[in-house]
């Protein structure tokens, strides 16, 4: 008898320990479905879990998904923001979220290769999602041949911002941005101020500030990218890549990279504050995304700022590349291990509906990926935001090309770019080395 008691005690204790240590997913399970109707088909799931990588305002996102609950009776539990290091354990675990919203599509092909995310053709059919309503560039970034690996849900493009007061002070027309990349260099020289002792006081343009070089708009302007259009070849040492790096390098070499770095690194991480150099008159031109024109950035931190926004200018000898841009942003994937794929398909269809896209991305001031949603007044009434909508609709707007080695490559590219811009290194041998390092890795990954 005593033995039986001891065994029972051990089992209870072991159970307690395991449940305490195992990060009990009590809040994330579907108690209603589990207790009331365990044998129900997946389509009748009563709780769906949505993980979103971004999200400064989780309450707003939850409130949006509560509207789906009101419509369908299916409870949606939103977790946002989710740190990047939690994604892999979640996707590989036995209970991944039903829907995962990623900040970018860089990892989608790798995830798909590892069978972590589902191919969506069937889910798109089940959910009745209208693919013709998507802007082509962001949708293309989610496709791989005939396969649909993700769906874009709001996206970003990048444009040139200029400070009109600084233009005026430098004797430039405040309403006329540079028309070519060469003119941008000239404008930058006029807008840069150096004190008698060589210290930089004001910079005209900084090529690697904020979001300007990721994904790289300059490469596209010079007619190339890191990868071939079909994402099967590495073109890291191609002429357009070399040209783009050399164009960026001149902004540093002219005034001395050390002096430029001492000036720019003093800004710290002021992106979301009134101390941002674009607001404080230290940086006259830079490249940034559409969200800057919404309520959460310039109009919040520097409401009186006088600034203009225009498509980044093309090289003088390629005017046909006007409005060239790389479109990249939020994508939605359905984890392969999800238990409620049919219910997830319905939720996905609701997320992609124009009204929901309009509501969420009006709030965040991001580009809507639905053409119908883009007709909403909140997007079209702001002329500065409209600049970005027009860029995305341009035939020169291209999807970001991703491969299974994209993230590793971009990290290595970042170091090459640093060496070229910040130490004045010759880009050619560095790019050749980068090509030699990653060519076999890409070939290996695509096998």
């Amino acid at each position: 008898m005593k033995k039986i008691h001891a065994v029972i005690a051990i089992i209870i204790l072991a159970g307690m320990v395991l449940s305490a240590c195992g990060g009990a997913p009590a809040a994330t399970q579907a108690p209603a479905a589990a207790t009331e109707a365990p044998a129900q088909p997946a389509a009748d799931a009563k709780v769906l879990r949505v993980w979103i990588q971004w999200g400064d305002n989780p309450q707003q996102i939850q409130a949006l998904f509560d509207k789906y609950t009101a419509l369908s009776g299916v409870k949606v539990e939103v977790t946002a923001p989710v740190e990047p290091e939690k994604l892999l354990p979640a996707l590989t675990g036995s209970e991944p979220p039903d829907i995962l919203v990623l900040s970018g599509g860089d990892l989608v092909k790798s995830y798909h290769k590892e069978k972590l995310v589902a191919e969506l053709t069937e889910i798109v059919k089940t959910g009745g999602i209208d693919l013709t309503d998507f802007y082509p560039a962001p949708l293309a970034a989610c496709q791989s041949g005939d396969q649909i690996l993700c769906l874009p849900w709001g996206t970003d493009v990048y444009a040139l911002f200029w400070n009109k007061d600084m233009f005026e002070a430098a004797g430039l027309d405040p309403n006329t941005p540079p028309k070519t990349m060469e003119e941008l260099v000239q404008f930058s020289e006029k807008l840069t101020k150096v004190s008698a002792d060589g210290t930089i006081e004001q910079v005209g343009f900084l090529p690697d500030q904020a979001w300007s070089h990721s994904p790289d708009i300059y490469l596209r302007m010079y007619g190339g990218f890191w990868f071939s259009e079909d994402a099967t070849k590495l073109t890291a040492n191609s002429q357009p890549v070399l040209d783009a790096l050399q164009w960026q390098q001149q902004f540093y070499t002219k005034y001395g990279a050390d002096k430029m770095l001492a000036f720019s690194s003093g800004w710290g991480d002021a992106y979301m504050s009134a101390d941002y150099p674009f607001y404080t008159g230290k940086l006259a031109m830079y490249v940034d995304g559409e969200w800057m024109t919404g309520p959460n950035f310039i109009s919040k931190f520097k409401p009186e700022a006088s600034y203009g926004v225009a498509a980044f200018p093309p090289p003088a000898d390629h005017p046909e590349r006007a409005s060239t841009a790389t479109v990249s942003g939020t994508v939605v994937v359905v984890p392969e291990g999800g238990q409620n794929k049919d219910a997830a398909a319905k939720l996905l269809a609701w997320m992609m509906s124009p009204a929901v896209v309009a509501e969420e991305f009006c709030f965040n001031a991001n580009l809507p990926t639905s053409k119908k949603a883009a007709e909403d007044k909140c997007f079209t009434e702001n002329p500065k935001f409209k600049v970005f909508l027009d860029i995305m609709a341009s035939p020169n707007a291209k999807p970001i090309i991703t491969t299974p080695v994209s993230l590793e490559f971009i990290d290595a590219w970042g170091v090459v770019e640093e060496q070229v811009l910040h130490t004045g290194a010759d880009p050619k041998p560095l790019l050749d080395q980068l090509q030699a390092d990653f060519e076999p890795k890409l070939a290996d990954a695509l096998k």
Binding site: A9, P84, D258, S265, G266, W267, G268, E336
Partner: protein, 315 residues
């Protein structure tokens, strides 16, 4: 087979253990029951992951597909991987320079805090306080202190005619910046040294003083040898912690990529994290983890081995 002498003087195998009574057996079972939570925790959350990572290190890891067995390939790849060597050299820099500097500074601080002066408790609290500030918060604070434009450190250096370096974006100065940051939070090491200093026998110090030894001679010839076991402890824990250096480097790069500037802050653990969790190369990351384990083990054993020469145990 080794033979054992039983209590009766005869050799027997297996050795006879004293017979347990009912109370002994009950006590044993209750003891085991109390040990069970830890044992399960150890088996599930330490031993199993370690064994699994050893297996993964010989394979290409696919989370939802069978492992691809590659033998020693991951280890061979390391030898050709420039970033592996870069991350290892960055880490060794911190171990070779950061740990001794921190030990020296914390010992000197402990000696000062051990002086019988007014407000001794206040000074001790002041020196200990930074070590309870969370790592991320203290690193962000130091990003401001080390800011090349308007940061306190460079402003002070400017006052004495020194043009302060660009701590955050110059690859030569990023690691020294991190070492200074680490020294700010050395309160824990100071406290351990302080406890050691309390144990230095006053009789020895007084004898040395009577013999005409100066303050410096007493410190060097009496105090330093007497606290040498504490130094060994701090050295070994410091070396182990430095080989696993991660959080400060992760935060220090600001909005730049890991390792900024120019991979000068790409430490071993950062590179391991990058491989495993960002590039999804879990097999390679597991091999990196095992190499780190072996490096730490060898370093610790070496330190223990050579410690005989400089460690004095009063007992």
């Amino acid at each position: 087979m080794e033979e054992h002498r039983s209590s009766g003087g005869k050799f027997s195998w297996p050795p006879r253990l004293p017979k347990w009574g009912l109370r002994d057996r009950t006590n044993f079972r209750i003891g085991m029951l109390f040990l069970l939570p830890w044992t399960i925790g150890f088996l599930v959350f330490t031993l199993y992951p370690m064994v699994a990572s050893l297996v993964y290190s010989f394979s290409i890891y696919h989370s939802r597909a069978p492992l691809e067995w590659v033998g020693l390939q991951n280890y061979a790849d390391m030898l050709k991987d420039d970033l592996f060597w870069k991350s290892l050299s960055n880490t060794l820099y911190m171990v070779a320079i950061g740990v001794p500097l921190t030990l020296l500074a914390s010992f000197l601080c402990a000696v000062l805090l051990n002086l019988k002066v007014r407000g001794q408790a206040f000074y001790r609290v002041v020196y200990f306080l930074p070590s309870i500030v969370p790592t991320v918060a203290s690193t962000i604070l130091w990003l401001w202190i080390l800011n090349p434009q308007g940061g306190i450190l460079n402003t002070l250096l400017h006052q004495v005619g020194i043009d302060g370096p660009n701590w955050m974006s110059n690859p030569l100065w990023a690691k020294p910046g991190l070492i200074i940051l680490g020294m700010w939070g050395m309160g824990g090491t100071i406290v351990i040294y302080l406890s050691g200093l309390q144990d230095v026998p006053l009789s020895l110090l007084e004898s040395a003083e009577l013999d005409g030894a100066s303050w410096w001679q007493r410190l060097w010839n009496v105090t330093v040898p007497m606290v040498s076991p504490i130094t060994l402890f701090n050295l070994i824990t410091g070396v182990i912690a430095m080989f696993q250096y991660f959080a400060q480097a992760y935060v220090f790069r600001g909005s730049h990529g890991l390792g900024y500037p120019l991979n000068s802050t790409l430490f071993y653990s950062v590179y391991l994290y990058q491989n495993g969790f960002l590039w999804l190369k879990m097999g390679y990351a597991s091999a990196l983890a095992w190499v780190l384990f072996i490096i730490i083990l060898v370093c610790t054993l070496l330190l223990l081995k050579i410690s005989d020469r400089f460690t004095y145990y009063a007992g």
